[in-house]
Symmetry: C2
Subunit: 124 residues, 2 copies
DNA sequence: CATAAATTCGTAATCATTCCTATTTTTAAT
DNA sequence: ATTAAAAATAGGAATGATTACGAATTTATG
């Protein structure tokens, strides 16, 4: 993988952003620094970075994929109602062992928890 | 919600199918029983059934949404490599409590575990 | 039966993502 | 510093799963 200014900008934006942005949001933010960047560059780089394990893709069940740069190991909780994504610390290792004994999975490195957030619960 | 023959067929197909089918696969299968059913009817009904809590939508990070009729309470493990979905039994209640104390989530009713399946591990 | 509400079918529209290609940038070797 | 090969980009077109729409049909209720 060669160096590219655009990719560095994408990574920098991801490092500054803790909001689990969508690809399009990342595109918008990078555009402020790198005005001529194209959407395809953003999508291609995100895909590559996910492949390399430097970025995680989070599917919420909504219409967009969200992205999160890998810092420490944490899991995600998603509100089914508003789609917000929260960080959670779960014992992934423990769950991985449990899974391994129970299914055809050889292990796991990511856990996504779906539920309702406190705000949405209040409103309904 | 009124009765509809088409919806009953969709539910029946889901009851018979343990493979976490996509909307399109469900459409194909229902079509064998109900040849004039339209894709929009399948999509609309799946959405309604998800809303009612009778069906669960499973986002794998791939291009399609998968569906699973709610029988017993179980969680899902997804292979990041092949996209296969496996059933798992996790202590959701315990995790829900853990989540509740740690985040803005009021609880959870579904856990998705991402990892690599044994077959894909062998191949790589 | 008659009416209103719900549902369906078929197709068109949407829109996030992927694909394509000519051009530019990066890398490594000479 | 040049050069050639490989990698990456910009921009726009294509894709394709899903959603939206409207006229026609079916269901529920009195």
């Amino acid at each position: 993988m060669n160096f590219s200014r655009q990719r560095e900008s994408i990574i920098n934006i991801l490092k500054l952003n803790y909001e689990h942005p969508t690809a399009y949001r990342i595109y918008e933010l990078v555009k402020e620094i790198e005005p001529t960047i194209s959407k395809s560059t953003v999508y291609r780089n995100l895909e590559q970075l996910v492949e390399l394990g430097k970025v995680r893709k989070i599917s919420t069940g909504g219409n967009f994929e969200h992205y999160d740069i890998v810092r420490d190991s944490h899991s995600h909780a998603i509100c089914k109602c508003c789609g917000n994504i929260f960080d959670v610390n779960l014992d992934v290792e423990k769950i991985a062992n449990f899974i391994k004994n129970q299914t055809e999975m050889s292990g796991c490195n990511e856990i996504i928890v779906m539920g309702i957030c406190k705000d949405c619960e209040k409103e309904n």
